[in-house]
């Protein structure tokens, strides 16, 4: 019996391409990945573009245009397992900053002929439109986590992607807490692990690239920031970046808006 390799497809909505590049960036593992899957559709990597259906679809980017909506619905139909990768696909991304503003006003200022621009009012995650089987967080995603998700899929096991706080990664690495020892604002206690505590490892507070952890208590953290001497504007800003439209971060940034 010929064991057919699962077909993998990589799609992009509104995004910077950084997350799908993580797959190409996995240089040491790429050949092993290709031994396990058939790279059926990955326009950024190859001009060989096979039709669906696909076994695994990786999709980066947020939904920001009516065309994105049509595309993602079609992609969902073609993929047995759909995995949203990155902050845009899982939370709307940095471009969700526009969700607090009037998009039409922007298009008027930016484009000479705004009537050609067809866009939605808000930048939304993939899950707002179709069912997503798995979400991999991060801006950008961690390539080792991406390999781990594919690896788990290929070996039919649960991926080792913990949903606890960045604090645990700091403690596993032996980092010193930048909040307690250096009075820095750090979103680590409410942020989903995944980056291996990159910023705190360089003595900088976390700014939440991986979005909210499994049960974030953002309001207590924000009030601690105030006690540490930070103002509402700083607090609003730290919650309002790559994962600004993830619910817990959105609410906390709004609570500190005025």
């Amino acid at each position: 019996m010929v064991n057919k390799k699962p077909k993998l497809a990589v799609f992009k909505m509104s995004s910077c391409d950084g997350c799908q590049l993580s797959l190409l960036d996995a240089e040491d593992e790429l050949l092993d990945v290709l031994a396990g899957v058939d790279m059926a559709y990955f326009p950024e990597a190859s001009s060989r573009m096979m039709h669906g259906p696909y076994d695994i679809g990786l999709v980066e980017g947020s939904i920001t245009t009516p065309r994105n909506v049509e595309e993602i619905r079609q992609i969902r139909k073609e993929c047995k397992a759909l995995i949203a990768i990155g902050a845009c696909a899982t939370a709307g991304g940095i471009q969700a900053l526009r969700n607090w503003k009037d998009t039409r006003e922007f298009t008027k200022i930016v484009y000479a002929s705004p009537e050609y621009i067809s866009t939605l009012d808000r930048s939304m995650p993939i899950s707002a439109f179709v069912h997503v089987d798995y979400e991999l967080r991060g801006c950008p995603i961690n390539k080792y986590q991406l390999i781990e998700v594919l690896n788990a899929f290929l070996n039919r096991r649960k991926p080792n992607i913990p949903s606890y706080s960045v604090c645990i990664d700091c403690k596993l690495k032996g980092n010193v807490c930048v909040m307690v020892a250096h009075n820095q604002m750090c979103l680590g206690p409410v942020t989903h692990s995944g980056c291996n505590a990159l910023c705190p490892s360089y003595n900088r507070g976390c700014f939440g690239c991986y979005g909210p952890m499994d049960s974030p208590n953002t309001s207590t953290l924000a009030s601690q920031f105030r006690q540490m001497g930070y103002g509402k504007f700083d607090i609003m800003n730290i919650f309002r970046n790559y994962n600004c439209y993830a619910e817990a971060f959105r609410k906390e940034s709004e609570a500190n808006e005025k």
């Binding site: 092993d32 606890y164 208590n217 953290l221 601690q224």
Partner: protein, 371 residues
């Protein structure tokens, strides 16, 4: 009791290294004092002390050349005996089966230099956890058996210390190999040395020491008493187990949970917390697999996830679990409280939740029992 000068303290480190020990002691790193490999007394935090309060730690210069004025930093000794991550075994697919490779790697031989009394007690508590007969942890015990302990008695206490009330300090009473008390008086700077084991005595004989005079011993005792007297925090342990067991449904748990971030910092810095998780990994081919153990915490949602659901979904349930285990059911399980009063969970909680104050709050607000 013997007297050791700084030159011989340096010599002590040299002897330990010569005896094949990896000497671990206090060093300054990233603005805190933590434990790492040391080569010489030059690596020690000379002239530094730590100021600690709930959610705050700062290093401060002292106006003397003391080596041990600091108290305890964010990391305890547990990471050396119960490492954050540990590979337990590897397996390889072979035909229709697999073979397990659990080749024993040689274990490090540590000398812990500068163990505080609270920390020493924490090690004894973890001994009960990991050396429990039927389920003894082989890695822990193999490393533990070879550890040489040089304890240092505290002559100062930080704002978050409460060892006196937990009866775990500030003086190390037994089961060390050598204990030291630093004395700085007038122009004199010396260490009062006490031998605690034949191994400790053997090392001591290789050092140039003098017998301690009564005055010198008193100076050391006074310095330790100073640490005890200046300890501002305490935990009232009277009837604590019953208090916690009978207040499972107390409204205080919801109050604490509203503050708690469930970030797990308290459990990670606690010198006795011992929870871990197993992670099975494979390579992409699926032919090689490894089992890893890594620190985990009862504050993580995934930790209490079992088939069919999660039995501690609320922050309230998770905090209650941690505190009740630490201070009450630990006693039933291991015959001792799980708390040694080191104060780390208070200092390193990013929002400063104070276990001693929460116990006071619980005592002062009796449960509105409606049975």
């Amino acid at each position: 009791m013997k007297i050791l000068d700084k030159i011989n303290l340096e010599k002590l480190i040299g002897i330990l290294k010569q005896d094949g020990y990896k000497v671990i002691g206090p060093v300054i790193k990233d603005g805190v004092i933590l434990y790492d490999e040391i080569d010489s007394i030059k690596d020690l935090p000379e002239g530094w002390e730590d100021e600690q309060e709930a959610a705050s730690y700062r290093l401060k210069k002292t106006n003397d050349k003391s080596l041990f004025s600091y108290v305890v930093g964010p990391q305890s000794w547990k990471k050396f005996i119960f490492p954050q991550r540990l590979r337990l075994w590897k397996a390889k697919r072979e035909g229709k089966g697999f073979s397990v490779n659990s080749t024993k790697e040689s274990k490090p031989k540590y000398a812990f230099f500068g163990v505080r009394s609270c920390e020493l007690n924490a090690i004894f508590i973890q001994d009960k956890v990991f050396n429990n007969g039927m389920f003894a942890d082989s890695y822990y015990n193999e490393v533990r058996d070879n550890i040489l302990i040089i304890s240092v008695n505290c002559t100062r206490s930080a704002g978050t210390c409460f060892c006196v009330s937990m009866k775990t300090g500030p003086k190390a009473k037994n089961r060390f190999d050598i204990s030291l008390t630093e004395v700085i008086k007038n122009e004199e700077h010396y260490f009062v040395l006490e031998e605690g084991s034949p191994r400790g005595s053997d090392i001591t004989t290789q050092l140039e020491t003098m017998d301690a005079s009564e005055v010198q011993i008193k100076e050391a005792d006074d310095a330790i008493n100073n640490a005890a007297l200046k300890m501002n925090r305490s935990m009232n342990t009277a009837g604590l187990k019953e208090l916690l067991y009978s207040n499972h449904d107390h409204p205080i748990w919801a109050q604490i949970a509203s503050k708690c971030l469930s970030c797990s910092n308290c459990t990670m810095v606690c010198p006795t917390c011992f929870c871990s998780n197993m992670e099975d990994t494979t390579d992409l081919s699926g032919n090689n697999t490894e089992r890893w153990r890594r620190w985990d915490s009862c504050f993580n949602l995934d930790y209490s996830k079992v088939t069919g659901g999660n039995f501690r979904t609320s922050g309230k349930a998770r905090y209650r679990q941690w505190m009740t285990h630490k201070l009450a059911s630990w006693i039933d399980q291991f015959g001792t409280s799980g708390c040694v009063g080191c104060g780390r969970c208070i200092t390193w909680c990013p929002v400063g939740i104070d276990i001693t104050k929460e116990i006071e709050n619980l005592r002062n607000s009796p449960m509105p029992i409606t049975k």
